[in-house]
């Protein structure tokens, strides 16, 4: 078990290092001179030289990379060029919107999808299964930002139940803030839930065809009980895998959805940074998001060991 955990941890760290190299290479090496790119065509040579000095671009690449990586470890992400504040402060404000949004969406989609998947598998081929899977098939095809527009139209414009956009901040209490996140979270959760329900169902159906299910039935256990006590835990492995993979899509979705609802999250920040050519902010935000995808997948890998004893003895 410890060997497995240590191996996964090692792989996770290695992946982080390689991913950071890619981010660094794309944003600091490919442009040639990032300072010139940030300041644009009309910048004076003096201004460029000053920015180069501020960003430490005159140091060798390896030193810059190590310093950048080290900054991540100690929480120093540099200063935003356009906002003239530490990137960390900027990011911290935005994470307080994006992270709750992603988490609510993940929880929501899991809470809906897994029971629907189980229910569908148990009633495979019957009317309820057909309806559930038809809905899921449709849900997979709906782009979350379009679904978000429709939700806004129905609940904010038409019924006026929730605000159409904007975010009051957490300072004014949890409820107004949560209220602003409800529609975005639902919009994000729908396609994820549809995929997850389909995977849960097909994983369960596949497991229900295994030999050991017949052994359990031969003991006298009714089909429903066999599904809960024998099939579900075995079907959890593909479901966990998909959950891990989905997190990456969920983050991407969060960034897009924030634009629909004018939420001041990481997504808004990164698009503003692109327009303003603030590479320092882009670099930090991208690295943060990539790191969170890697960490979530590492957690999924580790949770396999809890589900599957075959990994524990390895």
């Amino acid at each position: 078990m410890t060997t497995y955990i240590l191996k996964r941890l090692g792989i996770g760290i290695l992946t982080l290092v390689f991913a950071s190299m890619i981010v660094f290479a794309v944003l600091e090496i490919v442009p040639g001179d990032p300072a010139r790119l940030m300041l644009g065509m009309n910048a004076t040579e003096d201004a460029i030289a000053a920015l180069r000095e501020q960003m430490g671009l005159n140091q060798p690449l390896a030193v810059r990379y190590i310093a950048w990586l080290g900054g991540f470890v100690v929480g120093d992400l540099g200063r935003s060029y356009t906002y003239s504040v530490p990137v960390l402060d900027l990011v911290a404000d935005r994470v307080a919107v994006s992270l709750p949004l992603a988490v609510i969406a993940l929880v929501l989609s899991t809470l809906v999808a897994v029971p629907v998947g189980i229910f569908s598998a148990a009633r495979r081929g019957r009317f309820a299964d057909t309806v559930a899977m038809g809905t899921a098939q449709l849900g997979v095809a709906v782009p979350n930002f379009w679904f978000a527009l429709i939700l806004v139209y129905i609940f904010a414009v038409w019924l006026r139940l929730v605000p159409a956009g904007g975010f009051p901040g957490w300072a004014g209490g949890a409820w107004p803030a949560l209220k602003a996140l409800i529609l975005p979270a639902i919009a994000l959760a729908l396609p994820q839930a549809a995929i997850l329900a389909r995977v849960t169902r097909s994983a369960l159906i596949e497991v229900m065809g295994e030999d050991f299910i017949r052994t359990a039935r031969a003991k006298g256990l009714p089909a429903g009980r066999v599904l809960w006590t024998h099939a579900l835990r075995n079907a959890l492995i593909p479901v966990l895998t998909i959950l891990g993979l989905q997190f990456a899509f969920l983050l991407a979705g969060t960034i897009i959805i924030e634009n629909v609802f004018y939420l001041p999250g990481l997504g808004r920040l990164v698009f503003q940074a692109i327009t303003q050519r603030d590479l320092i902010v882009v670099e930090s935000v991208v690295m943060l998001l990539v790191a969170s995808v890697i960490v979530v997948n590492l957690l999924v890998d580790l949770s396999y060991a809890a589900v599957d004893p075959r990994l524990r003895t390895r």
Partner: protein
């Protein structure tokens, strides 16, 4: 008792089965219509999408303009037709990119095992950490926005997807006895991959291809929506939704039709993929 698994089938049998498979048939019809729309748009559209008759802005659907007009007075149906070819081209090239790089990598890893395999898996881990949107953000920050960014960003993410599917498929074929027989016939790993592995994982790749195609359409729409993909004046479904957003209260039809176009296309491709999987996957068939 293990019965024969009939994996190879005559074309005629496959054709009969295709007609009997509702998912496949529906998916095929929808996909063909969308593809036909995209192709026809090259030679004919109801209204030229670069012509901006400001006098007829945001018209609701009518006999004249089937799906109405947008805020510049452009015909929405024509824009959806042109947008289709844009979406399809981006998704298609991205899938081709994933297949042409990912499949050889996956097959190579399965044939060599050992460190090559390990290195590929780690490479996959790294690329999987970059969803298309993040790659697009980085590329746009350096090179500015454009449809090519979308292709590259989506295509890069497709590489590990196909590498993984090809590797898993190839790993399940390699221990088969006919591979051992081919090795005793002196065939090299490359010959075995071409003659025995690829034909037997082609169905897996085809199914994955339709799934990635559908995901590519969704991703392209998302990227264009946030301004990282196709740029105006080239019509794209995602961009049309962005333009519609601020005008939704006065003209909801601006948001409805491009969205429906995406839904229908993705649905058609997914149905096609499901149908193909049912028809080609011997494992699923045995469960029936």
């Amino acid at each position: 008792m293990n019965g024969p698994i009939d994996e190879a089938e005559s074309l005629r049998a496959l054709f009969v089965k295709a007609l009997a498979n509702r998912s496949f048939l529906t998916g095929l019809i929808i996909t063909s219509i969308i593809a036909a729309m995209a192709l026809v748009s090259y030679v004919w559209v109801p209204y030229d999408v670069t012509y901006l008759p400001v006098t007829n802005r945001m018209a609701t659907p009518s006999a004249e303009h089937l799906l109405g007009t947008d805020h510049f007075g452009r015909d929405i149906f024509s824009m959806i037709m042109v947008g289709a070819r844009n979406s399809i081209a981006v998704a298609f090239i991205a899938v081709a990119m994933g297949i042409s790089v990912g499949v050889p990598l996956g097959c190579w890893a399965a044939a060599r095992r050992g460190w090559v395999d390990e290195a590929l898996m780690r490479f996959n881990d790294v690329v999987f950490a970059f969803p298309a949107l993040l790659s697009a953000v980085m590329i746009t920050a350096i090179f500015g926005p454009g449809a090519v960014n979308a292709i590259i960003a989506i295509g890069i993410f497709n590489i590990p997807v196909f590498a993984r599917v090809a590797r898993a498929g190839a790993l399940s074929i390699w221990p088969r006895e006919y591979i051992l027989a081919a090795r005793t016939a002196g065939k090299s790993a490359t010959q075995i991959t071409v003659e025995h592995i690829l034909p037997n994982i082609a169905n897996l790749l085809l199914v994955q291809g339709t799934i990635q195609f559908a995901l590519g359409i969704l991703a392209e729409a998302g990227l264009s929506y946030v301004g990282l993909g196709t740029q105006p004046p080239m019509p794209s479904w995602g961009r049309m939704l962005f333009d519609a957003q601020t005008r939704m209260i006065v003209a909801p039809h601006l948001a409805i039709f491009p969205g429906l176009a995406i839904v229908v296309t993705v649905l058609g491709l997914n149905l096609l993929g499901d149908g193909l999987r049912d028809m080609l996957d011997p494992k699923l068939r045995r469960q029936r």
